[in-house]
């Protein structure tokens, strides 16, 4: 084996490095290193002449690998790797020694900084000397996408992807798409009707030739990786054939079972066989198995008898459908933080204390009271209503530490809607701050105060309880410093938003991370806000963090564009710095299999095998392996060993 020939290029970065690091000394020291056949310094390595000098030196000196001692690899690693490639080298044999951010900029003493720059550079020389030439891994792409969640985020993403000509499978857990947005009465800041703007999109989904809609379905299993996921979807039986169902309601009218209606958050009731709401998509009834007397003509069978078209089939079985997709959008949305957690707010046990969504259903023309604001306990018009913001939010000690972002706005909307329904009523809002950033938002809140006379009280509510047919609200107005006591007819809590139930499971199924609050984690908070930590899986809507409708739609569009971009390539390229198994050393103990965060390792004939497409090169396997039988290419134990030596020489 002939010795590798290494070239070192030390950058002055103008005076950024040269002021504290004696670059000439670094260059000379590197020239003395074993294996280094070329060493030079230059004022701006990343300038055109600098880059050209790298290319020329590689060619002229027959270099096998290069080290650039310069700024952070985050800035110019790609630049110099491209240079290496242009000069005919493999780009993975170029290493960056960061002597600016990690050295020149943080030290004053020139001797010390120079000594450290030499160690950093020497360490990079050792690493480069052992670098293997690697080629990016090409992965073919399945041109199909999966969208999980049929709320506004999922609907938008599915439509955007489908409109680009890519097939989409839209999976929704419930019997209809629409999500929470469909429960809303009006939307801020324009007060336009939520259903009116959403229904057309739902219809478009149902009719789109590129969208395969799967309601009443759940994603069970996901394997594979970016470009080629394999997804198992469980389609639960609705016991009604949507093709035949005429939505005549004959079945529901004979059904003997009455249960609370989820769509109205329990403010109304429905039958075991039901349609969630008139505009549901798909337009079909669903027989709720958990409520039904037994799917058995002997036990009941009334609905089946009532159905003229024979759409009801008790023998319908759950189906598992396997699909292959290239990318996934997760839009599993939110749920409200449960009132039961809020003891100081009555813990869900005090009558006429509603959450925000229940109030939406009270205001909605399609809701429980047909759009009349009546309090649930006695169906009278509430004259004094207290709205409380930040219930469960911004309370790191007991509840959720984060701000749920939309409650200031929807509380203002609620107050206004209430005042529009009950002009002589009094609306109080307890708040901590008003956060109304957004186009037209601040003006909207101002109108709630000024036009609609909502009384805003800055302070927290300490307690509420039922007294004399009213809800007594005890709180403090921190602006006046006075205690406030209101006997309200109704109280509306702006409860915190939390990830929808099942977010944990779906995150596990997809092997994507969650943040400390349980929301799905984005890959980078600023630069990759719609990417999950797993390549090929994107995030949209409130599953990622609380947000309002326009933001959700924007994020869904962004996720869709990422999917379209990804799937527009014939193949994908995956970083080749992945784990490699040394068969002679592997004993098949499966410790790496357990440790791998990506399920990228499995056993074949008693030896570990790495799926290079799934492997992200984190090295958890190599640190766990007791036998040095697995390591990450170009970050091998031998390289680290020599780098340690270089740092301490």
């Amino acid at each position: 084996m002939t010795k590798k020939r290494t070239g070192v290029f030390v950058c002055h970065c103008g005076n950024n490095i040269a002021a504290t690091v004696d670059v000439t000394k670094v260059k000379d020291a590197m020239a003395n290193e074993e294996g280094v056949v070329f060493s030079q310094d230059y004022v701006y390595m990343c300038s055109d002449p600098g880059q050209n000098s790298v290319i020329d030196a590689i060619k002229d000196n027959n270099l096998d690998n290069v080290v650039i001692s310069c700024c952070s690899p985050n800035l110019h690693e790609k630049t110099f790797r491209d240079n290496a490639k242009m000069a005919g080298l493999n780009s993975f044999t170029c290493e960056i020694a960061n002597i600016r951010e990690q050295c020149a900029w943080v030290h004053k003493d020139k001797d010390e900084a120079t000594a450290k720059a030499i160690k950093i550079s020497r360490s990079a020389v050792r690493r480069a000397g052992r670098d293997q030439a690697l080629e990016p891994i090409a992965v073919p792409v399945t041109r199909k996408a999966l969208v999980i969640g049929g709320g506004i985020a999922g609907i938008q993403a599915a439509l955007d992807i489908a409109n680009a000509g890519v097939e989409v499978i839209l999976v929704e857990k419930l019997a209809t798409i629409g999500g929470h947005m469909l429960q809303l009465s009006e939307t801020f800041p324009t007060l336009d009707c939520s259903q009116c703007i959403l229904s057309p999109k739902m219809v478009e989904v149902s009719r789109h030739p590129k969208i395969k809609l799967m309601t009443y379905s759940e994603v069970q299993e996901v394997s594979g990786s970016v470009g080629n996921f394999k997804v198992k979807i469980l389609k639960k039986p609705t016991y009604v054939d949507p093709e035949l169902c005429k939505i005549c309601d004959d079945c529901a009218s004979v059904c003997p079972v009455v249960v609370p209606n989820e769509h109205d958050l329990g403010l109304t009731a429905r039958r075991a066989i039901h349609i969630p709401f008139a505009q549901a998509i798909p337009a079909s009834y669903t027989l709720d198995e958990s409520a039904c007397l037994g799917l058995n003509p002997v036990r009941c069978g009334k609905c089946k008898d009532a159905c003229d078209v024979g759409a009801i089939n008790y023998d319908m079985q759950p189906q598992t459908i396997t699909e292959e997709v290239g990318a996934i959008v997760v839009a599993t949305g939110f749920d409200l933080y449960a009132q039961e957690h809020m003891n100081e707010m009555g813990g869900g046990k005090v009558e006429d204390v509603l959450d925000g969504l229940q109030f939406e259903r009270l205001c909605s023309a399609s809701g429980a009271t047909k759009g009349h604001v009546l309090r649930p306990s006695d169906r009278t018009v509430p004259k004094e209503v207290v709205f409380i913001q930040c219930v469960g939010s911004r309370d790191p000690a007991q509840h959720c530490a984060y701000c749920s972002k939309i409650c200031c706005m929807y509380t203002a909307k609620h107050a206004r809607l209430y005042k529009h329904h009950v002009p002589d009523g009094r609306a109080y809002v307890f708040y901590i701050d008003i956060r109304s950033g957004g186009k037209g938002y601040e003006e909207f809140v101002q109108r709630a105060m000024e036009d609609d006379g909502t009384i805003y009280l800055r302070g927290r509510v300490s307690k509420l309880y039922r007294k004399n047919g009213k809800v007594r609200v005890l709180g403090t107005d921190t602006l006046t410093g006075q205690n406030v006591e209101i006997d309200a007819d109704m109280v509306v809590l702006a409860l915190a938003m939390e990830p929808s139930k099942g977010t944990g499971e779906i995150a596990k199924t997809l092997k994507i991370g969650r943040d400390k609050d349980g929301f799905l984690a984005e890959s980078h908070p600023k630069l990759k806000p719609v990417e999950s930590v797993t390549a090929g899986i994107f995030l949209a809507g409130c599953a990622q963090a609380p947000k309002d409708i326009p933001e959700t739609v924007a994020q869904a569009g962004a996720a869709a564009s990422k999917v379209i971009g990804l799937l527009s390539q014939p193949t994908l390229s995956h970083a080749p710095t992945v784990a490699r198994v040394r068969n002679s050393h592997c004993s098949g103990c499966e410790m790496c299999v357990t440790a791998c965060p990506y399920n990228a390792i499995h056993l074949e004939h008693g030896k570990a095998v790495v799926n290079e497409v799934l492997c992200e090169g984190c090295g958890s396997c190599s640190a766990t392996c007791l036998r040095a039988a697995i390591e990450v290419k170009n970050a091998t134990a031998l390289q680290i060993h020599e780098m340690i030596e270089a740092c301490l020489a």
Partner: protein
Amino acid sequence: MEKILGKTKIDDWVAALSDHPQEVGRGCKAAEAATTTHWQVSAPVLEDGIWSYQSGSGSVQLEHSNTTQPPKGFSFPQREVFFSFEQIKGEPPKLTQKLPQATRHAVFGVRPCDGCGAVRMDKVFSDHVADTYYTARRSNVAYVGLACNQPQGINCFCLSVGGSPVSSDGMDVLMTDLGDRYFVAAVTDTGKALMAAGNSVFSEPTAADRKQLQQTHAEAIAQPQRAINNLDAAPAKLKASFDSPLWEELARACIGCGVCTFLCPTCHCFDINDENTSATPIKGNRVRTWDNCQFPDFTMHTSGHNPRESLGSRLRQRVSHKFQYFHENFGMPQCTGCGRCITECSVGIDIVNVVNKVAEHAG
């Protein structure tokens, strides 16, 4: 030179050796001797539950059963630096030989089997070719032996390998415990010098002393020991049993560790490695360390082939070396019957049993 040393006076002798400017040493030149002022005395000390040679305690009590490690390390240490090297890029390498320091060791309490061990080590390292490092150390080591009035353990078998519990082979001085005093006999010139250094601590032996010595030695030799059945036949029997399946059977429990050979007074295999201390400039030491025929890479070829891959073949190597190959080269068995490899083997591999069984099997 034969003397009597009262047991209470042994420390005075040790003190005299430690303090006495020393002018003689095996083969040392006058110029070297002038720079050396005393003997460093080592003797068995019971620490951590084992007997081991230690120096500097000032007090020597020869109440020990044999040491866990033989004294071979005094002349053949587990690690020996041959030379250091340094190569500045573009220049030829610079080598600096590292000869052992000329410390003189007087090792007390050496048992006859280990004295015989020294004889065999000397043959290996100086008979045909003198090993610079070994001989440099060996010339500065003197063994003050102690005869075994009783066998040291249940696995002693020196008598059946041509040795004796009272043998003075390899010793510079041989002491015999006569109850309240030692009978001290010089074996070599170095031994005489050692005794001379003690001078007045000794007294002359009486006829009664000599008679007791004879009797003690006779009784010692008469003590029952384990036995290799027919030593003289062993080389031929082993030779005939090279391909015997018995080896694998006898080695079935072997775990392949290095206890038997590292603790053996006559095992002398070594490995030579470069230990780098710096990559730029290249710096390091060339080092000799003990190696071990029981380790899996011993005799491993570069090709990956290992002619002695199985534990049975490694056991055969150890036993045949002791009782056949060494005999062929030097006319004596290499084994001195100390029994360490039996006593310390964690799985009961017993060289006496092995030799006897193989011989029996060979018919």
